[in-house]
Structure formats: C-alpha cells, structure tokens
Subunit: 348 residues, 4 copies
C-alpha cells in the first residue's frame, strides 16, 4: 500500500517540527522533503530528535516548490505571507495543502487590517476549507485546508455547540485565553528569554490579536441567522510561563431559560463519539491533561447571568500540527486518529 508523500515547509519551527515527527511516524505517510532556512543542510535526526532519519536533510524554504512533483501533499508551517504564495502554487499542481498559517482563514476584506496585506488569491480563499473537523467535518480533497489557529480551536470547540443550540447570545462574548510560550513560534530575543518569561504572566496584542476575526467568523457559522444580534467577541491572549498548552476561558450571556445542565448536556451531545474532544467538568479542564496529545478538553457551567465554557488543547498538536494530521487523515478517508492515537499526555 503506497504511502502518501508529504513535504513540510518550515519544518524546524515548533509546529513544523511536531508535524515532521508526526509525518515520519505515520503509517500511511512518507516524508518527501522538509524545509528550513535556519538549519538548512543539517539532518532531521540531529535537529528534531532521535527518532527522525539522520540521513534526511533540511532544504532551504525557497526550494519548496521545486519539490512539489515529489509530493502528494504539503504542510505549510510558515508565515501567512509565505503561505499566501505557496498554498495556491501547490494546490494548482493538484497537491493536497494543509496551511497552518492564517492566510486562508478569513474573508478577503479582513486581511489588510488583521494581517497587514491584501489577499491576492481570493479564489483559493473562497474555496478554502476551515479545518476544525469536529465542527466542520472532513476537508474536500481539492480545497486548501486552512488549519485553524490555536486560540480559535479552543474557543470554537468550547462555544460553537452552545451557540448552535441557542443556549447563549452571540453578543458580548469574552474569550480570555492563556497560552504557553511555544504559541509564539520560535523566537529569539529578550522578550521570550527565560529571564523575562518565567514567573511572569501578561496579556499581549490586546484588542488587536489576529485570531479575533477568526473566532468571530467561526462562531458566526453557528449563530442564529435570523437573530438581530451578530457575533461579537472580545479576545485577549496571555503569555504563560509554560512551554506548551493553551486554556481558553469563555464567557457568554445565556439565553433566557438556559441552565447549567443545558450547557453540560449540549457539549456532551455535540462531542459524543468525537475521538479528540473530551467533555469534563469545567474545573477539570487543564493543560496537563491535554499537553502531549491531540485531545481537546471542554467543559461548561452557567448561572442566570453567564455561561462559562472552558477549552484546553496542546497548542502545537490539536492547535496546529496534530490537527493538520487529523485533517489529512480525514481528507484521505483514513481513520481520524491514524498516527495520532499513540500520543499520550506528558504528565505522569
């Protein structure tokens, strides 16, 4: 049985490295090429860990497209600017494309404000599939898969079912999220040094984080179209002194009549049978139960004034590379957890 040949662009960043490991260990995938400008020429085994081939070497990012013929699918773990160019280039050659950047997640009109560029591939953008499988199903083979952002993944998993079942109002939603340092990508410089990050917590990009419109867009697909209120989300990201893991604490106003058991039951119903989402009491949603796995934990409670729904994921797995593989699995008709089911949480 032939393996699907996969190339990875940006394979030495945190998400790219995790994706590379997952591809190498996957029973139906074969790694064709891996790009990285930072460590071009060095071997995967040396850079990414003992289980990776010592004899396969990183190639420069600029050479990615030259390797297109040698692959059936490509995972782009790079900036939105680079993906904007590469994703259509690979897609036009008939390759499956999973893009971990934000380049194909929003409406074209949102790009100038939130990403600082004009989207010049609006056709591909319109056809792109937002790859959050538990909410949006299996990706079609011919679409660019916009792999969701880490914060939107956690927030949408916690909130979307509540909105779909009309248990919460679409206005005045607050998403207060906390993420480990790897969420910022591989960064050098003082701001992400141990001395600056350890023992500290702070908010960043307040009211300006590019995941805000992505959460709004995702939730809007579940909101009551006949309602007068549109989805309105305040999103704040915080930097935690941990390496991996992301917790999104979400607040929404309940519709009249919504009770705590309604919201608990709604989530249980929504994720019944879901391989990678676990519904637990909200005070048991915690980083250590998900870090190292492709699992999301969600939980919710309510009183007459508010619904609190919490979601937790490993930002590099369910929030990035793990979800990319999950999308690739579903796209190709394989078991959703192929190559992902062995991942166990890191906490003893």
């Amino acid at each position: 049985m032939d393996r699907l040949r996969v190339g990875i662009v940006g394979a030495s960043g945190y998400s790219g490295a995790v994706a590379t490991r997952l591809v190498v260990a996957h029973p139906r995938l074969a790694l064709t090429f891996a790009t990285s400008d930072r460590v071009a020429g060095s071997s995967l085994g040396v850079e990414l860990g003992a289980l990776l081939p010592q004899d396969v070497r990183f190639v420069p990012n600029a050479s990615a497209i030259e390797h297109a013929e040698a692959c059936d699918a490509v995972i782009l773990a790079t900036t939105a600017e680079v993906s904007l160019r590469l994703a259509p280039a690979f897609a036009e050659k008939g390759k499956q494309v999973i893009d971990l950047s934000g380049a194909f997640r929003l409406d074209a009109s949102s790009y100038p404000r939130w990403y600082g560029f004009t989207h010049d591939a609006p056709g591909w953008l319109d056809g792109a599939h937002y790859g959050l499988p538990e909410l949006f199903g299996a990706p079609p083979r011919t679409a660019i898969v916009a792999n969701p952002g880490c914060y939107p993944t956690a927030a949408l998993l916690a909130l979307a079912p509540l909105l779909r079942e009309r248990l919460v109002l679409p206005a005045s939603i607050v998403v207060d999220a906390k993420s480990g340092v790897s969420g910022a990508g591989r960064q050098s410089g003082d701001a992400y040094s141990f001395m600056e990050v350890d023992d500290d917590v702070r908010a960043y990009k307040i009211l300006e984080h590019q995941h805000t419109p992505e959460i709004v867009r995702g939730l809007s697909r579940f909101a009551d179209r006949t309602a007068t209120d549109s989805v309105e989300v305040t999103f704040t990201a915080h930097l935690l002194p941990v390496k991996r893991g992301l917790l999104a604490t979400c607040y929404a106003r309940p519709r009249s009549g919504t009770t705590s058991s309604h919201v608990v039951e709604c989530l249980a119903q929504a994720y019944r049978g879901a391989r990678f989402v676990r519904v637990v009491p909200p005070a048991e949603v915690m980083l250590k139960r998900v870090v190292g796995t492709n699992l999301a934990q969600v939980g919710a409670t309510a009183n007459q004034d508010v619904v609190v729904a919490i979601g937790a994921i490993d930002n590099l797995l369910k929030g990035a590379a793990g979800q990319a593989l999950q999308n690739l699995n579903r796209m190709n008709g394989w078991d959703e957890d192929l190559g992902l089911g062995h991942l166990e949480r890191v906490a003893p």
Copy 2:
C-alpha cells in the same frame, strides 16, 4: 519614640510570614507575639528567614488572646472562622485590628452562602472599614479593618475609577483572574504538589469563589446609584505555575461615547500621586513588575464594544500583608510607605 506593639496570628502561613517580616523591619512597629500551631515553639529566625530574631518563638494560636494586653495592634492572618471570633475580641480591648480574612468584608446576609457560616458579630461587621486605601482612604482607628482579598484588590483598582467616572456599565462585568500558588495559602496534599501544579493552568471554584460578592460590593460603592442596572460580576480564578503574583483581566461594557483615551486618562487621574499604584499601558501590566513589592499596576484600553482593564499585584504584599501594613501606617498617621518603600521587585 515608642513603637506600636503588634501581634500576629497565623504568622507562619504565607501571608502571615510576610506580615511578620514587614513588622520586624518596620521603623515604628515592634513585634510582640506571633502565633502558629504548625511551628509553635520554634524560632522566627529558623522558620521565616535570617533577618528575623532567633530568640523569639511562635506561640500556639489558642494563646493569641492571652497576649492582647501586650500589644496595641493585631494582624489576623488566619481563617474567616477564627477571625470572626478574634477580631471583635481584640477590638473590644481597644486594639487596632487588621483582619486578612474575609470575615468582615461582606454584608451579613452574604456569609451563609459564600463563607458557610452565619455572622454573629453584625455590629462589628457594620462598622468595619474595607481597607483598600487608594479607593477608601485611611481607616478609622476604632474600626476593624477588613483587609481586602487579593483578587478584589486587583479588580477594584482596575475597575472602580472607570465605574465612578461612568465610563463603563455596571452590568456584565467579567473578571478573569490568574494567581500564583501562594494565593491558596500553605497547603499540603497532592493538589498543590510541584508535579500537579507545574506546567499546568486551570480554573477553580468557577462561579462559586467567595471573592465574587466582595468585588460586587466594592464596585457597587462606585456605581451610579440612580442607574437601573446594578453591578453584576462574573469572576473566575485560575491557578498559575508561579509562586507569587496575580493578574486580573477585567472586561466591562463601555458607556456610549467612551473611548480608549477616556479610560487611560481616568486611571491616570484616579491614581495621580498614589504611592502604590502605577498606571501603565495594559500590555505592560505584568507579574514581574510587581512581585516583591507593594505596588499595583493597572492599565486599560477600549474599543466601542468593550473596555479591558488589567490589574497586577503581588498577592502576598499589596494583596495581603503589604496592604495590611499600608493600612496600619495610615491608621496611625504615618507615611503610607513606611516599612514598605524599600521593597524592590524580584525580577532582575
């Protein structure tokens, strides 16, 4: 110049230990007694650090009241149940009382639900002074001083001026707070072990935290009394993998016309001249700038949908023992920062 003689009940807990160190180093205070059941008989120097006297020993909690005559003031760093009994006992003897528990912070009617007991000293409760100096001024000498909770201190400092100036609406306020482990007090048991806490974050006591009514009560004193809406707060506490420090990210709906510069200016105005509150851009409010000091940092921003106001403190200093000393200083007419001004942040 005689020193004010101070006793401390619960002096080996985290807040009590910090209070003990501050009292010993204070130029106008003399430590008279320190109680602790856990280390009764052991010396302060051995238990709390090199600068404390080696020859002064902890006495059992039960002996506290026997030492009343030997002191002019007492700091209670103990449970609400114990304070409920001890605070009036010391106050009736004419002693200055600073209570770090929640026993004198709420209306009597709130205690059964939030603290699990009926308040049997409603007279002292009615006369108690809520000791957040920047918002409620100097304590009268004859009142029990209810030293604020750590979460309410941060939330009220960030939100109260905005409410007072009618820049935000009193309804639908969300306070999403994150605290270091010392906020839970000295705990043994699995839940606070390094293995459980490190690399993790989770919410706790969701919709049931006893600081919720304290925040509501504090904010209500600043809300427009003629308004139809009353103050309504959703408060969530999260446990961080850090020892000290607390960040409260607060969300409120702006009144029509409120702009970002309004909220920035409002905070700047409110704390002009305040020794222990610094107004900074909200993304610069961070634990490491306040841990080790009695300072609070606050900052805010807004768009047309929301006001985000963030406060940070060291939960053991401005959120407990430091504020206790600040109250004691003002109560006795001394400089507010006496014995507190030397505290420097821990971060290099």
Copy 3:
C-alpha cells in the same frame, strides 16, 4: 498471536502509571490487572489518561497475588518491602517478574544498612538479573529482573565502559546527580509542594542514598579484578525544579595515558548499535533531549587530572518503566524497542 498477559502492582504511582500506559500500547502485551490502593475502584482511563481503557478498574494492592494465574508477567512498581514479598511469590508461580524497587539489586548483606530490612529471600536475590540491557544483556526468563534504579542507570551507562576499558581508576569516583521531582515518587506533604520545590535546588540523603551501593556493585563488575583498588563512589542526589529527567555528572581519575579522545571513542564503541543510548559531546547531554523517551544520552571528556562523563535519562522511562519494558522485550525475544520506539521527546 497471543499477547503476553501482564499485571502491574502500584499502577497509579508515577513509574507505575507510565508502565501501565506502555503495556496498554504495546503490540505484544495485554494488561491483566493493575493495582493501586489510592485509586482502587476507579478506572484506568479516568486516572491515567484518555488512551487507557475507561472500563478497566484498579484493584487493591493486597489482591495482586490473587490475580497471579491471570498473568504471564508482573511489573512491580512498589516499595522494596512489598517487592521482597511479592516478587518471589510471583516467580514461584513461574511468572516473569520485573521489579522496579531495590529489593533485588544488592548483596544480601547490604540490605540492613541501606534499606533497613534483612533480606529474607536470598536465594531469589542470588539468582536475580540486574536489568540494564546495554551493560548486562537480556534477562533470563526464570530470574527475577531487578530493574535498575534511575541514578544507577545514568551513572553506569556513563562510567562502566570507561572502567571496563581501564581508562579510569576505580577509586575516588564522584557521581553528582540531579533529578526531577517525579524521582521521589508520588508524594504529598509540604516538602514536594510547588511552593517548596519551584525555584529551588538542594542535595538530599547526602552520603546516605541507597543508590550508592547499587552504583558500586554495578561498576565493580566492570573493574579490573586484579587491581588493588576497589570501586569507591561518592554519590550525591539533588532535587531539581523539573518534573522529569535526571542528569548524572560523573568524575573519575584517569589512568595514566588516558586522553579525551580515548574516552570519547570508548563510549562510542561501547554503544555502537545500541538502540537506546546516544553518545554526544558532554555539553550536549541534557534533559530535554531525553525526557519523554527511553533514550539515554552519554558523553565524556578528559584532561590529565580528571575524566568527566555525563549521562541523562528520563527517570520514569529509561530510569524505570521504559527500561522495564525493554527488559520484558528482550526476555521474550522481541525487538528491544517494541512498544518503546514511538516515544518522542517532549521538547519541541
């Protein structure tokens, strides 16, 4: 192909939990029973993570022997006192026994001093196999396998080849080791609380650690028997503010003529082809390259006065549960890395 049926005693401790996960995921093993007094009656899935069966429940430790008939092999992740009784009981029934405790690692005469009991199964002790596969080969099927301690695993892997090749002298060896908190086992109580452990490092059991005679005994098997000097080791363990991982920095006196390239080459030669030991420059031996895997890293350098050899492992994997599975694999003639090869390091 029938699976080997495995029971685990002490399955909710840190090592036991990791062993349980490894057994469940292993292609040739089937979990028969798992004991734990702490969580008896609760399901494996709830306690140990999402990938474990929800419908299999912990049974009390005391019932372990009752389940002997239902298993072919047992992993004992419990105290030396309990193993001393259980290991022979299972072995007498013809079961394969892997003992993670120290009960079968030393000479009988060492137990009173180092473990505080008289060894009452000296026959089984004499026949026990010290299960460090890279140094002592595959265990025989009928012996109790004494799975090595975490510190001895790292120290022996770093030092034994140097002693075997007579590059270092057996006297005056110093092993200065640093371990994450999980090495202490699941502990409650103040000493292992986050507040005590984080931001701290200290030595413990100085000159009294029970792994000292184990290191001496292991090294002695590689020392020159004709030499006048016997092996003499000073061992110090330190507690690190990390969850997992152990680094042993070892110092030995070089024999005359030993150079840095001798020691580097010696280690390279010793572990050529070893699946789970990687020889790297000593400054690249680090926790983050091994945590999450069954790998050991070793490296060495020398000048005319000293040989410095460093070893690092994940104390719960190569230092406990991973090595147990490795032993079980070799004992049964399977590939050494069956059920272990997928383990990837946690660090991105």
Copy 4:
C-alpha cells in the same frame, strides 16, 4: 554627612541593575551616573523598577570616564575587556573601584588561556584585592577590588576553611556547581530562551570554565604551603531552570582522621560572627533560603572517603552586586551590612 558618590558602568545588565538598586537605597551612597548602551537615554525608573528615580537617565558606556570627576567610587559591571581598561583609568584618578568582571582576579599568566587576552595592567593586577570579605578581610582603599565570581564565592566559602584547617587534601577537589540563568548575564538568542531553558539542565564549558583558575588561586592561599600536593580542582558549571541562585556541591578527600564533626565544627568556627554566612546541615543548603539576600549558606559532612561541602548564594547578590556593596562598606569603614541588611529572601 556627605554621601559617597558612586557611578555604575553596565547598569542595565542583571548584576548592574541589582547594584544600581542597592546603591540608590543605600544610606551612605549617592548614585552619580549609570551607563548602559542598551537603554541609554531611558530613565532608571522605567528600566529598573519603580523605586528608582524616573528623572535619572542611563548614559552610554563610552561616556563613563567623562563622569569620573563626579564620583568617588565606581562599580564596573561589564566585561573583563572593558574593565581591564576602565578600572585602572578610574583608579589612577583616585577613585575606589569595585570590578565585577574577572579582569583583576587571576595571575597575569592565566589571562591568555582563560580570558583570551594578554593582561596589560600587571601593576594594578598585582595590587588588586580579591574581595571575598569573610576570607580576605576588608579591601584597602587604594587597590582595585576584584569582586569574586559567583561560582568561586560559593566554592571558596564552603571549602577554604576546611583546607586552612588541614581537614581535606588539596588534590582531587571536585566542584560541581549549578546556577540560575541570570548567571549568564543578559543574553538574547535561542540558547537562553524559555523554550530552551525551562525543564532542562545541562553542563557547559566543561573543563574550560574561567572560574576554574579563580577557585584554584583562592584555595591555594589556604592550602598548606609545605605540602607536596598543590591545589587541583575540577570545576563543572550547570545551567538550571531558575532565575537566580547558585549551589556548589564540593567534594574533597579527607585527611586521615578527619570526621564529620570536624568539618561541621570547622565551618561553624570559621564563620562565627560572620554577618553574611550561615552554617547549616548540608541538606538544608538550598537556593530558596538565600535568593533575594546577600547571605551564603554553607554546610558539610564527611565519611572516611570524602568530605562533601555545599555552598549556596544568590548569584546576583552575594555572587556579584551584594558582595560589591559589602566590599564598599568595609572599604569605607561602615557597617558591613549597611544597605544590605534589609534584603529578605524571596521565598514565602
């Protein structure tokens, strides 16, 4: 009473910043100037914390010497190369010079190998005073004070008295030291990022650390001059995932007849009355008891084969800026703990 006017070169590095805070808070010192290329033009208060003057600004390093006339003393918290030039320049103008670099700590012949330069101020070097007050007394006013390195401070305090009293042999000494990240100075770049440092431990500069000859030189002053063996030290530094604090675990061979009580008593005797050194059982020597203070903890034990002596300090205080102030105090005839006595440990 006039204050001594002090300038600080390199005032925004970790040690320099701590020195700056100490100088500002010191009752007999006045800060005259503070240099930093990184933040030249910015105010001390903004960069270093709330207690520092908002209106005093950093000046460029190159302007340091221009400010010489305005100061009575200078603290050099910069590289050895810069100190080599600046220390004599200030000293020739009659200024008191405390140099935190290694430029005046070794014999001239050691510089090419360990620091990579030829020492071109051998006269000043010969006259320099090695400023470890508990071992070498008060500095003369006219010498350049070579403030000891952090590792040598801890190692010498633990070992020197044992060598002086001939309890240990000078050969085969091992110093295995572990330090927090601030010991590396303010670094940007991947190697000191949170992602690289957290959850990790590793050795660095193995057998090549420039503090090795400094420890040898310091110990040699206490060794028996008639002995045939000279002092021989193997020193290894390890990087810990903590911000501040340094633990040195030292191993030496006992002279015949040395017992554990000898070494305990020797340290107790050596530091009787020492304001900043506490002798405790070696398993109680730990970072958290010293971090935030100018204290050193030392402790030792022995058996017939080895003496283990452990020292702990805050690398930025007793290991750098605190000791600099202690030297300045003694140099000027003030109380040793002036401006240092209020420092309390950070741990609650």
